[in-house]
């Protein structure tokens, strides 16, 4: 909804000062989005993926090549620029997708479970890149994750969702404190959601998550 892909059933929201219903195109210019599924095209090279989106986002011709090279270097994909994405490893695909999402220097970057299906090394690299983006470009990073340790380590503010509602929101320290002394983020999650979360979702969601994980793997 915040990425303007789905219309809200009720209520409204503003992203970067624009209304999600009335000004979706203004928002789309200012955000980057990394879906959970694979958003880079496997039939194109890394460079071509970036080139197509550079054109779609309207990067001026004079800056295009330079910006694409910067992003490739930033994501450590310089050597793989002319390789088809279908030959990339899971971690490389994720880095390219983040590169695609930040090509136009968005103010806000949305990521849907960016580290799902990645091995620990790839996971760490992805987080390094995200932290660099946040530090160097001042990009706001908005992401979903099931990894409570990730939320704990990397996020300034965490909202815990349970049955599509925010049940707890605050800094990781605050959330942990309310779950008791010496509580971990996992404890905080259980504290806020109760023990019944396992009954959520359906087979389709499960299948989709595992599918994505195996494709990335």
């Amino acid at each position: 909804m915040l990425t303007t892909l789905l219309p809200p059933t009720s209520g409204g929201a503003e992203v970067a000062g624009f209304d999600v219903v009335r000004q979706p195109r203004q928002i789309r210019r200012r955000i980057g989005y990394v879906p959970q599924a694979i958003s880079a095209d496997g039939g194109l090279t890394g460079y071509e993926n970036l080139l197509i989106f550079a054109k779609i986002y309207g990067l001026p011709r004079s800056e295009r090549q330079e910006r694409i090279q910067t992003v490739l270097d930033l994501m450590e994909l310089g050597e793989a620029r002319s390789t088809l994405v279908q030959r990339y490893s899971g971690g490389m695909v994720r880095r390219l997708e983040i590169g695609l999402a930040v090509l136009h220097r968005p103010s806000i970057l949305f990521l849907d479970e960016p580290t799902v299906g990645l091995d620990p090394t790839a996971r760490r690299t992805v987080w390094q890149h995200l932290q660099e983006l946040h530090r160097n470009e001042g990009t706001t990073i908005f992401l979903t994750t099931h990894q409570m340790t990730e939320a704990d380590t990397f996020c300034d503010r965490v909202a815990i969702l349970h049955r599509a509602r925010v049940v707890g929101i605050g800094s990781p320290a605050e959330l942990k404190a309310s779950a008791g002394a010496h509580a971990t983020m996992d404890d905080a999650f259980t504290h806020y959601t109760g023990a019944a979360t396992d009954q959520e979702g359906n087979l389709e969601d499960v299948a989709r998550n595992r599918d994505t994980a195996s494709r990335l793997g």
Binding site: G17, R30, P35, L44
Partner: protein, 273 residues
């Protein structure tokens, strides 16, 4: 918060909306063509079918002497029909490719970009138009080899390209609409088979409409493929005649393209709900 407080940080030159629209349309088409360039195998496999129709079906049926082809050999009569079939078959594959892109997440990426929905749809149809060109060349080549008296002057070839492009855009948009309505690959493949054969057989591609009985003739009159074949027949082969007139064919095909692109644009974002 004032909208002015957050501006896009890439130093973009403000562009005219129309230029922006065209640039995005071309970018979408470019992505499709670059993919084809990386994996041209499809171009070859898709050339087999028209070859079989011309070489096997066409030559066998040429022996039937009482087909009312308007005074041209039967092979000359069906060559434009096979070209139209080629356009149809290539273009309807865009729907299943779209569902595939949705399943992967590529469609989400495009829809979260500032590209207008109509540019996304039009870009696909534009690439379909370009994609049919090599197939047209193959059918032309085969036709010449088989002794079909092809009109080779540039004006006529341009007319053929104009009509195959229009036909490709039409069937590509139709296929995108079907994909948006059916949403899954399985359902799409089922309906696709169900649609393709009637579209092909209830048309003038293989035989003149006047050979059909009344109700089938009326159905064929609503089939866009009929108008595509009609125009190609006059433009592609010597002695080939158009029943409806080229300007009528052009008008009706253009109107259907506009209508289908408009519908596809409207329902495109709903594919990911």
């Amino acid at each position: 918060m004032l909208p002015e407080t957050v501006i896009p940080r890439a130093a973009w030159a403000e562009q005219h909306p129309l230029l922006e629209f065209l640039r995005q349309t071309v970018a979408v088409a470019e992505a499709e063509l670059r993919k084809l360039f990386h994996d041209p195998q499809e171009l070859i496999t898709r050339s087999v079918q028209p070859a079989l129709w011309l070489i096997v079906f066409g030559r066998v049926f040429s022996r039937l002497r009482d087909m009312p082809t308007g005074g041209i050999p039967y092979l000359d009569f069906i060559a434009p029909g096979i070209l139209a079939q080629s356009v149809l078959f290539v273009s309807v594959s865009y729907g299943i490719a779209l569902i595939w892109e949705r399943d992967l997440g590529i469609l989400h990426k495009f829809l979260s970009s500032p590209a207008s929905r109509s540019a996304l749809v039009l870009g696909k149809t534009l690439s379909a138009a370009l994609r049919t060109l090599p197939h047209a060349a193959v059918v032309y080549g085969l036709a010449v080899l088989l002794g079909v008296r092809v009109r080779a002057n540039p004006g006529m070839v341009l007319q053929v390209i104009a009509f195959t492009s229009l036909g490709a855009m039409l069937f590509c948009a139709l296929s995108l609409i079907v994909a948006c309505l059916l949403r899954t690959r399985q359902r799409f493949m089922g309906i696709n088979q169900l649609l393709l054969m009637p579209l092909f057989f209830a048309s003038n591609a293989l035989y003149p409409l006047k050979m059909m009985n009344g109700w089938l003739q009326r159905i064929s009159g609503f089939n866009p493929l009929t108008y595509l074949v009609d125009a190609l027949r006059a433009a592609m082969v010597r002695g080939g005649q158009s029943t409806y007139g080229l300007s009528f064919d052009l008008t009706i095909l253009s109107l259907i393209v506009l209508l289908l692109v408009a519908i596809a644009t409207k329902i495109y974002p709903r594919l990911i709900y």
